[in-house]
């Protein structure tokens, strides 16, 4: 580890300490809520799956398109050109 790396380590450590200290100085509430993965008691429940497929259904489709585009782009970038 050279001198510039040590300087970076010092700067990043300082930043981490400042961020962690600012988090620790806030008085967070002690009661936390347990969010279920799926709530089948009603159709608009507070489950993760309910929210994902009710409120963010269009976003799920967009993410699917993004993953398909990433797959096609990755294959196109990584394929070797055949020399004739």
């Amino acid at each position: 580890m050279n001198r510039s790396d040590l300087t970076m380590l010092l700067a990043v450590s300082l930043l981490t300490v400042v961020v962690a200290e600012s988090v620790l100085l806030v008085s967070w509430p002690s009661e936390l809520h347990d969010i279920p993965a799926y709530n089948n008691t009603n159709s608009s429940g507070q489950g993760v799956a309910n929210t994902l497929f009710n409120s963010y259904s269009f976003t799920v489709v967009l993410i699917g398109l993004l993953l398909a585009a990433a797959m096609i782009g990755g294959i196109y970038l990584a394929k070797k050109e055949v020399k004739e």
């Binding site: 970076m8 990043v12 450590s13 981490t16 967070w28 936390l32 969010i35 507070q46 782009g73 970038l77």
Partner: protein, 100 residues
Amino acid sequence: MIPPEYELTLSALLFGIGLFGILTRRNAIIVLMSVEIILNAAILNFVAFASYANDPGGQVFALLAIAVAAGEAAVGLAIFLNVYATHGTIELDKIRIMRW
């Protein structure tokens, strides 16, 4: 249940580790891994605040961010494969041209 201070402190620590990796490392794959660590720090913040605010939207966004990170890793690795084929190295200091 884990208090939010612990999760947010861990998130700050992960962010610091990722930032240090980006700033100091020259290997492109290690830089990509550092970017992924920073993304994981943001995802951990999403989950922590979702539990704090009793809102499943944070966990939904965490899932979507994981999907975006997967796409980014796939495209990034393909780019580095192409760079290695053209330049013979993936050391970021030695890559000076955008096109071969």
